[in-house]
Symmetry: C2
Subunit: 334 residues, 2 copies
C-alpha cells in the first residue's frame, strides 16, 4: 500500500528463515481486514509503501533449528500477532503484549516469515482442500477478536449486549456473545445482508438507525436502561460515543475496533455511572485453542462472513470491494 | 458556598420529614471532603449559594411513617448517596445508580433530612462519645471510596498497585489494597506526613516525584512494567495521564477522584495494551456492611486520616486548612 486507495501487487524477496526460532509458512488463505481500510483511507503517501495483511493460514515450508513443536508440512493457523508464549504477559494470556512479540504485516503474500514459531503457530488437523478453510481463517483474527470483545465485555449467561458494527468482527462478536450465553443481543448496523447474517449468528434485535435515533431505539428495546455490555467493533469516535449512550449503569464498553482517535469523552461520562471501558487487540493463543474444536466439528461457522474470494493478484480489487461495502469480507487465495 | 473560597455558616430552615420514607438525623460528626475543594476552587459565583457536605454520622431524631428498620435514637452511618436498596441497580450492588436515589449535599449542618432512610442508613452499636467516631465517619465516604478503588482495580492477593494521591481517599485506598492482599503498594504523594501515614497503612514504596520523574521512579520500582492496578484518587487530568504511564499491560486504572475534565486520552493509549479504565462513585451499602465490623473491633483504623477538628461555625476555616494542605482531613463537630 502506497497511499490512500493505492494497493499494488509486487514481487519482493522470498520469505526465509532469519532466526533459528522462525518458520516460513506458505499461505493457503489470507484476507483483507476492516482495519486494513483505516490506512486505505488515511495513510500518508509513501514512496516505499507498506506490506499489508495480518491474517493467514497455511502450510509450514521450513523451520529454524530451534523450532521444536512445528514441522514442515504442518497445517497452521497464525494469529495476527506473534509471541514467545513464555514471557510473563503470555503466561497471563496477554500474548499481544509479549515482550518479544509483534504484529504481522506481510500476510497478503505467497509466504510469510513467522518469528517465534513455537509460541505463535497453532496446528490444525486439516488438508489444504478442507471445506473449513474460511472458518479456520477467522481464527487468525476476526473470530478471536469478536470473542475477545465478548470476554472483555464480561458477557455471560443472561447478559444483555449491544454490538456496534456489522462488519465481520461485529458479526462474530454477536456469535461470540451468543456462544457465551447472552440473552439479548442488539446488533447496530445498516446493511441488511449483514444484519441478516447477524440474526443467524444470534442477534435478537437489529437497529439500523444511527446517531440519536439509533440510541433511542436501543434504549426502547432495553427498558430505557441500555445493555450491560456494549461491544464496539468499529473504531471511530461516533461509535464510542454511541457506546456511552447505550450502556447500562455499571456496565462495560469493550472495544475491539482499533481507535482512530486519541482524545474523547473520558471524564464524568464514564465515571458518573461506574462504567468500565476495556478491550484491545485480542490475538490470545488461548482463544484459538478454545475455539478451534468448535470450528472443526462445525458447531460454529464463522467462515460465513467471507462473501467474496479473489486471487492474490486481485487483492487491490478486494480492498475496493470492502471499501465500497460491496463485500463483507474478502478471502485472498494465493 | 457562594463562590471560590467563599464558605459561610448560615441559619437555614430546620431539616424535617417531607416524605414518609424520610428520617431526620442529628449530625454527631461531619467533615470536609477533598471533592468539596473542587467547587471551592472553581464554582461560579452564586447569589443563592450551595449547601455543602455529604459525609455524616449521627443519631436519628425522627422517622417518617413508612420507615421500618430505623428508629428514633439509633446511631447511624450515612453513605454519601441515598438509595432505596431495592431497585435493580441497588440489588446489583450499584447503589449510586439507584433509580430513586441521589447524593447528599447538606451534611455540614446540625441535622440532615435523609430520604429513603430504610435503604440508606446503616446502624452502628455505639454511643455519641465513642472513640471510634472518626473511623465510623470514614465509612460515610473516604474509606468506602478507597475500598471501591481497590475492588474495581481487581486488587487481590499478590497484586501490585500504584495509588495516585496522598489525600484521605488515597491513603485509605492504600489501606484497602493492603487489606485485599496487595503485595506491592506504591504511593505517589509529596506530603511526607501523609505518606508516612500511608506507609503505616501498608504502602511498600513512596514516590514523591511528580510528572516524568515520578513515572520513571514507579517504573524503576516495578521492573519497568508498571503495576497491575493503578488507583487514581485525585481527579485531575495529569493524574489520569500519570495512571496511563504507570499501569502494566493488561492492567486496570480505577478512578475514584471525581474527574475535573471531560476529554482526555481514550484511544490507542488504552487500547494498544488492553488496559481497563473503571471506577466511579462508590457509596455501596455492601461496603459499609463489610467494613463496619473491622472498624468496630479496631482491626482497621481509617479515622487516623483526620488530623484537625473544627466546630460547625469554623467550617470555613476547615476548608482553608484543607485547601492550603495544612490539614489532611478536617472533622466538623456541630
Amino acid at each position: 500500500m502506497y497511499g490512500p486507495g493505492d494497493v499494488r501487487v509486487e514481487d519482493v524477496p522470498d520469505a526465509r528463515i532469519e532466526a533459528p526460532t522462525d518458520a516460513v509458512v506458505r499461505v493457503v488463505r489470507a484476507c483483507v481486514c476492516g482495519s486494513d481500510l483505516h490506512p486505505y483511507h488515511s495513510m500518508g503517501a509513501s514512496a516505499e509503501g507498506s506490506t499489508m495483511g495480518h491474517e493467514f493460514i497455511g502450510v509450514v515450508e521450513e523451520v529454524g533449528s530451534d523450532v521444536a513443536t512445528i514441522a514442515r508440512g504442518d497445517f497452521v493457523i497464525a494469529p495476527f500477532a506473534y509471541f514467545d508464549n513464555t514471557c510473563e504477559f503470555c503466561r497471563a494470556g496477554l500474548t499481544t503484549s509479549c515482550v518479544h512479540g509483534g504484529f504481522f504485516s506481510t500476510a497478503q503474500a505467497e509466504a510469510v516469515r513467522v518469528p517465534l514459531a513455537d509460541g505463535t503457530l497453532v496446528t490444525a488437523p486439516v488438508g489444504e482442500d478442507s471445506a473449513l478453510l474460511p472458518s479456520l481463517l477467522t481464527l487468525s483474527d476476526v473470530l478471536i477478536t469478536g470473542h475477545h470483545a465478548a470476554v472483555r465485555g464480561q458477557v455471560r449467561a443472561g447478559s444483555s449486549v449491544t454490538v456496534i458494527g456489522d462488519g465481520a468482527v461485529g458479526l462474530l462478536a454477536v456469535l461470540s456473545a451468543k456462544r457465551l450465553g447472552a440473552e439479548q443481543i442488539v446488533l447496530m448496523g445498516r446493511h441488511q445482508a449483514r444484519t441478516d447474517l447477524g440474526r443467524e449468528f444470534g442477534a435478537t434485535d437489529v437497529v439500523a438507525e444511527r446517531g440519536e435515533k439509533g440510541i433511542a431505539k436501543v434504549l426502547e428495546l432495553t427498558g430505557g436502561r441500555g445493555t450491560s455490555a456494549v461491544l464496539e467493533c468499529v473504531g471511530h469516535l461516533p461509535a464510542y460515543e454511541q457506546a456511552l449512550a447505550v450502556v447500562r449503569a455499571g456496565g462495560v464498553i469493550s472495544r475491539v475496533g482499533v481507535p482512530q482517535y486519541d482524545q474523547g469523552p473520558v471524564g464524568f461520562d464514564l465515571f458518573g455511572r461506574n462504567l468500565t471501558l476495556t478491550g484491545g487487540p485480542g490475538a490470545q493463543r488461548s482463544y484459538i485453542e478454545e475455539l478451534l474444536p468448535e470450528v472443526l466439528d462445525g458447531r460454529i461457522e464463522p467462515g460465513r462472513v467471507f462473501d467474496r474470494t479473489v486471487g492474490l493478484d486481485e487483492t487491490p480489487e478486494g480492498y475496493r470491494l470492502m471499501d465500497e461495502r460491496t463485500a463483507l469480507k474478502v478471502l485472498v487465495r494465493p
